[in-house]
């Protein structure tokens, strides 16, 4: 039993680190713009598709690191582009307009992909995984890779946000968005970069997810992306460390739910968890209530 639990913990870490990477994108955008970027889950899906295209269409076999970097840059650029075209004109519009636009953008991306490629694709093996048995547990090198890359990206982001001028500007804008432009900080550049970073992390999550569960389909943005959004809300949307915490909590809850209950209960349990947490902690575990100014 104990080793079964430990085994499930490793699976939970794998799923949780992917959720956390996607949740970071939701949280960063919410932090700077106070807006739910509902299109983010579909950027994750595009990341998986970009990885698939790079792995199957090119005549040469690219190393995994190169694929990961290219996908992150491409998806980051797509995220920044969406912000430039669809969200920036609405920055002073009512908040609801921005949410609807995000929802619409997500649907456009999802259904365009669905119309072009209606059937799921299988991801070729990009990383030759071996199994390590240790103390009654089995862990694959792929799991180590996924958890390691995610943790490295998260630590990198945390350093970027806490130690660099860019990170300071990001934190400042989520603290007080009106004063920051008066201090001479180029807000548009800052927001573009935030979208680039968030979407890039989502793209990386797409690559890692398709390595772990080698099936790529247009619906995965909705399936996984919305779950990651829950993770961001559980942790407190707008809080970067909260997003990571929420990702791992959700991963653990889902893996344990499937381990002990029929798998059809997974969604029921994860969304009920969200509802319960919002009843008792309305702004998430690490979130701050917004400042109310009259």
């Amino acid at each position: 039993m104990a080793s079964y639990l430990a085994q499930q913990t490793i699976n939970a870490l794998q799923l949780g680190s992917i959720y956390a990477l996607i949740a970071l994108g939701y949280s960063m955008v919410y932090g700077v713009l106070v807006m739910i970027n509902f299109a983010h889950g579909d950027l994750f899906m595009l990341g998986a598709f970009a990885c698939l295209l790079l792995a199957t269409l090119l005549p040469v076999h690219l190393p995994l690191v190169v694929i990961l970097l290219v996908v992150m840059i491409v998806i980051g650029a797509v995220g920044a582009l969406i912000e430039r075209i669809a969200y920036r004109p609405l920055r002073n519009a009512p908040r609801v307009s921005a949410i609807i636009t995000a929802l619409g953008c997500g649907l456009v991306i999802e259904n365009t992909t669905l119309s072009i490629s209606p059937y799921p694709h299988f991801m070729p093996e990009l990383f030759h995984s071996t199994t390590i048995a240790w103390a009654g547990l089995t862990i694959t090198t792929l799991q180590i890779l996924i958890i390691g890359v995610s943790l490295a990206l998260m630590i990198g982001l945390d350093l970027l946000v806490t130690r660099t001028p860019f990170g300071m500007a990001m934190r400042a804008i989520s603290f007080d968005s009106r004063t920051v432009p008066l201090m001479g900080i180029p807000v548009n550049t800052l927001i573009s970069r935030t979208f680039f970073l968030g979407a890039g992390l989502g793209g990386a999550a797409g690559v890692l997810y398709s390595l772990a569960y080698p099936q790529v389909s247009a619906g995965m943005g909705v399936l996984i992306g919305w779950k990651a959004f829950i993770a961001a809300v559980i942790g407190g949307i707008g809080s970067i460390r909260g997003a990571v915490l929420g990702g791992f909590i959700l991963g653990a809850v889902e893996v344990m739910a499937v381990a002990f209950l029929p798998s059809t209960y997974r969604d029921l349990i994860s969304y009920s968890l969200l509802l319960v947490i919002l009843i008792f902690k309305p702004y998430g575990l690490l979130g701050q209530p917004p400042n109310q100014k009259v």
Partner: protein, 322 residues
């Protein structure tokens, strides 16, 4: 022509007469072959969509909140009515109206605690909670064997044009009277500035909860009519895509406008039928329309305006600009 329409709108008997005529026409359609079955289904779908759109407009348009859970209420209404029609009172004459009222009531009863939870927080959190609600309803029905689980249910085909017309008129009438009452002014005040409304002594919490419950009741009614129309319902019929369709209708027709809701529902339903041949590309074009609307005309076609016919008579007596 314009003067004539304005004068007609002000006449005491014009609107009731029009409603009676419309009902008589729908009744006639049941007995005489005026439309074929396909056109009838499209017309009933327009009616159902008007109910959905007008009821969501109460929360999203008049109150300015953002709920994405309307398909969840539809689902509750559909399943509740289907259970009633299949298991409890098969083939009785009052089967349809009772099932529809039951569907609406179940949706409203579930809507109340949801409103209590969601209005503890503000703004975007209603979107999050209604989203969670939508997903919970879907996976709950998938796990309840009594209602068929993922395979769904096959309720009898009962919805007809007269009953749909009746519910459309009732929905529009109730929402119109609510919106132009003291309660309606409260929810509009919430949309404009909730803190100021609170400071003026408006009981914002009660107004929000009432609006949400009324909206969920009619969402359930629409779901019940939908269930008895299509012969088949399953949990996936009421997912986030369905909610998005209703949102497209609301924001296309125009926020805070009942005529806008009617217009949005008609345009959307007809467009969906016309665009049938292009398959999944439909769901590319529709959100694209929504995005373009938000960028260039964020309030929709009729946003914040109303056709004279949809105003109560005492509003007409007021001077313009009052």
């Amino acid at each position: 022509m314009k003067e004539f329409l304005h004068a007609a709108a002000r006449c005491r008997w014009a609107l009731p007469a029009l409603v009676v005529l419309g009902f008589a026409f729908c009744l006639a359609c049941e007995f005489f072959p005026i439309f074929n079955d396909y056109s009838k289904v499209v017309l009933i779908t327009i009616g159902i969509n008007i109910i959905l759109c007008a009821s969501l407009n109460l929360v999203n348009g008049y109150m300015g909140e953002f709920s994405v859970g309307h398909a969840g209420f539809m689902s509750l209404g559909a399943y509740a009515s289907a259970v009633m029609a299949v298991n409890w009172l098969p083939s009785t004459p009052m089967e349809l109206p009772l099932a529809v009222v039951f569907g609406g009531t179940v949706a409203a009863v579930i809507g109340l605690p949801l409103a209590l939870i969601s209005f503890n927080t503000r703004g975007d959190y209603l979107a999050i909670i209604t989203l969670a609600f939508l997903m919970i309803v879907k996976s709950a029905f998938e796990n309840i064997a009594y209602v068929g689980g993922p395979r769904g249910m096959t309720p009898p085909v009962l919805t007809n044009m007269p009953w749909t017309f009746f519910w459309v008129v009732l929905t529009l009438w109730v929402i119109r009277n609510l919106v132009y009452s003291r309660f309606g002014r409260a929810i509009i005040a919430i949309r404009e500035d909730e803190i100021a409304a609170n400071a003026m002594g408006v009981r914002t919490r009660e107004a929000k909860i009432l609006a949400f419950v009324v909206s969920s009741f009619f969402g359930g009614v629409a779901g019940a009519l939908y269930a008895q129309l299509n012969f088949f319902i399953d949990p996936r019929s009421f997912d986030i895509v369905k909610s998005t369709e209703i949102l497209v209708m609301v924001y296309l027709g125009g926020i805070a406008s009942l005529f806008g809701s009617v217009l949005g529902a008609v345009i959307f339903t007809v467009l969906m039928q016309v665009l049938q041949p292009i398959g999944t590309w439909r769901m590319v074009i529709l959100p694209l329309i929504l995005v373009l609307l938000m960028l260039f005309r964020p309030r929709g076609i009729m946003g914040l305006r109303e056709l004279t016919w949809f105003l109560p008579r005492r509003e007409l007596k007021k001077e313009p600009g009052q």
